[in-house]
Amino acid sequence: MTRSIQAKLLCSVLLCVTLSAASQGVAETPAEKEFTSRQDEARRSFREGVTPFVKAYCAKCHGDKRRRAGLNYLAALKNPGETTSSKHWKQALANVKAHDMPPEDEDKQPSEEERQKFLDWIGTLKFLSPKDPGLFVIRRLNKAEYGNTLNELLGVDPNIAQDLPDEVLGAGYLNTLSPLQSEQYLAIANAALDKALPLDSDQPSEVEKRLFGDPPVAGSDLRAAAERVARSMGRLAYRRPVSPSEQDVLMKIYDLARASALSHRASLRLMLKAVLVSPQFLFITPSGDSKPDGNIIPLDDHQLASRLSYFLWSTMPDSELSALADQGKLRDSEVLRGQVERLLNDPRSRALFDGFGAQWLGLVDLKTKTFDTAKFPQMTQAMRSAMYDEARLFFGSIVRGNRSIVRFVDADYTYLNQTLATLYGLEMSVTGSEMRQVRMVNPNRGGILGMPGILATTSFPNRTSPVNRGVWVLENVLGEHVPPAPPNVPALEKQNPKTIENLTLRQRTELHVQNPVCANCHKFLDPIGFGLENFDAIGRWRDQDDTGGPIDSSGELPGGKRFSSPKELKAIIAARKDGLARNLTERLLAYALGRPITGYDEIVVDDLMKTIAADDYRMQTLVSAIVSSYPFMNRRVR
């Protein structure tokens, strides 16, 4: 596999901090020298390898004149290391590797050797990217973060935010609100205040005491008391110190309320409402006093604290994290690592599964996915919840136990309740509705490949899809890019009924390989899916498929590894530690940064891989390494 070749090439390279030193004219360390020579090598191979390949095989359709699929490789050749170009190269890598490109009806075809060389060269292109932490634009809290933050601040149920529109999570989010929706922030603030600080009660609530302090004694200076509340409440809700002008605005609101004959208490409440609809609360904003001079600046301590707690908890920093930011200690690597461990071991890190894990494993839509209810009456909401919780608890066990990420594939335990145990045939030994850890005696189970929630979401409503499962394993587990099916391919249902009579699903799916257009990809995809055919469309074990024919779960992975059962497939995939780890690292880094991985990030990932491989691919080590990485700690502002 190209992936492993790339990894070998790159593993020896040390990068991050070194470049800036070099650019400042400091004498080069050996690591820097190595990096510089990598760069030179990449430039040369680019000139000698990529350029002629692109001109010979790609530019006719993807050049300045014709830009099919919107791709112009001649433009990408001019600025090979730029972010926009790197998307081009990723696509080229996938398509050339799958023999999708150049198209088969083109006369000019590269030899296998040319093809492989081109792929190897693309792997070194990242060395041409300038050191860049990525553009970092202030962002609004997403729905989950907003609900959790209100919960943290006011003790209200996070579901109070449920009417806000859902965001598309991950690579890109929509940051626009219609006026009707922005009004929800005001409505939600009102509802949250009514819950947390009821006005009709003479006794201040616990939340009120926490935010407003003790009621002022008779005759004391109320406005001075309000000043103090504004400062502390602003610090808390804005997650950084308030500026004098922000303090001033909050006091204007207090004065407005007082002038309207509201009591001191009610006036503070209006001030709190203003805080809750302020952009300083809804956005994570820097506390710096002046516009930054350079393009790339380090995150200030408070921004770093927020970035960290929203990454791992999807909520605001707690008092310990905030105090460290106030003291300016957070950039100390030992302190930061300690905080990562503390945050991960806290129950709030469950948010990392809801925000990241569920998306990585493809379980986000499990609760709403359509199933053929006649065929699978088991797929009740209780079952779906249990499936989701199984994956959540399993993910949590690896995070909190600081286990190796290889355990995601080859663990020998899972989490079940009675409902879910019926799919495992374990309903006699696992009873009751509570989820608990259960050791798996059957080696086909345990790990994400044998997990019913995942087996169900990668199936059709009424049958399994070896193709979907194959794509899922390649993309979600091993991080390969699978090109989409060409347009206008018939679905299985459309096959001529005569030719497919008496064929099992596997045999029908194998018809792919007879069509050369399909075969390029499906010869890789399908066998992986066949390896999981013993699991039906909701994850139950079976020995026969729907046609009554015996399941044949043997196959071969790219690279010649053969398997004959889910157990053996698991073992092969678990052995590909590097691919597993790299995939998870890239995805988790993208989630942490809130943007797709491009250009220079690839070099960052190489570095992260080295760090975590040295510690047996442990999960907390991975998270710590991401948090202390260059793009997490810095930002480009223009």
């Binding site: 699929a69 919107g70 890109g172 006026p179 009707l180 929800q184 952009p279 809804l282 209810t373 459309k494």
Partner: protein
Amino acid sequence: MRKNLLIDRRTTLKGLGASLALPLLESMGWAEPGREKSYKPPVRLGFMYMPHGVIMDQFWPKSADSFLTEPPPALESLRPVLEHCLMMKGISGVPISPFNGAPHALELSTWLTAILPDADTRNRINIAISADQIAANYVGALTSLPSLELATMPQTHKENQEGLHEGYYSHCSFRSPTQALPAEINPRSALSRLFGKTDKSGELPKTDPLDRKMLDLVIGGARDLRRKLPRDDQHKLDEYLDSVRAVERRIAAIEHRQKEAALEKAGVSVSKRNAADSPPIEIKIPEGDRRSEYMQVMCDLNVLAFQTDTTRVSTYIGSTPNGVSYPELGFNDQHHSQTHHGNKDSEKIRKVAAITKFNIDQFAYMVKKMHSLKEGDGTLLDNCIMMWGSGLEDGNKHARENLPFIVAGKGGGSISSGRFLPDTKGNQGDLLTTLLACAGIPLDRPIGIATKQLPEIRG
């Protein structure tokens, strides 16, 4: 240009960015009929969308002559109001190359923009302001809500065909080339925020008179933060502050209305509505999860918003291209899964036809309701332009040669309805340009790929 607005363009534009102290209803004619004889209710513009195209021989009328007497099966529920409907065949869609692999993202995102996303920045939202938002820019300041966006499913589909941003898959309204406008999918919160109403009796939503002044201070207070931020950050902040400004304005409008209602109730002033106009319709939020009821309550909200002049522009994504099923029709298949029927699979064809009819039935429900409501000398529908359509003609082949459209309403007399025009020559941009012109929206340039207006639509 028809003069159906009693306020000039300059005043309107001035009102757009600024935060207005008091609602404009009073100064702008509509709320004060009777002052001059030529007074007319405003024209409202609504769009309702269905993905995946139609079964052509069940959708297109046989001929111009038989349109009223023998409507096609898909239009059966529109029979009582066919006199008020206009259909035209020959409206072509934007050619989607180089995005051939993303027909469904494109059928929706080009629907009201009539133009393709920018190919070089396809992984971000970068397309064009949509026709509904162009209209909202012009008439939006006259009402408490500039435009209304409704949908019946979360707009979170995650698919990046052809490298396109996910947002293209579930949005058709764009506030600017780079801002996709999300739609409201919860009828209860739409009801409360649009009309300050709840469907539970005895419960009155509060409007805090201090909220408006407080928001004003919050917006002013962000100025200092804004100054310190880099340019890209400032843009993000501005988007939010703009929307808060709109909230401020809406609160002012609701306050004004409540004051008016109180005065009327106390007998101090008389209603400014025409005495003969129908009273505002009641909204009942359905309890169950029947898709027809869900779609209909969104229709009701649209009707009420138009009837009360809360907005004059609406866009209703009846369903997005991904993942809707229609159990009420007796099958659980998702819409898209049935559309590649190869013109052979009669079972799938039957299901697609049923889904299409189901969607048109909901549109018919809405326009029939509008037709039943008196307004001025006629009905609410007379003063509306309600466009129903799909982004494909034929979901089987993703064909876009003759996009299916139904236009209901006479647009205040600007549209000649009750006709089928079988040989229209134009594209979806031409149609949108014409409909906006009929609604009295002045355009400084054609919409998307439009090159002309379609005079045959006009009365």
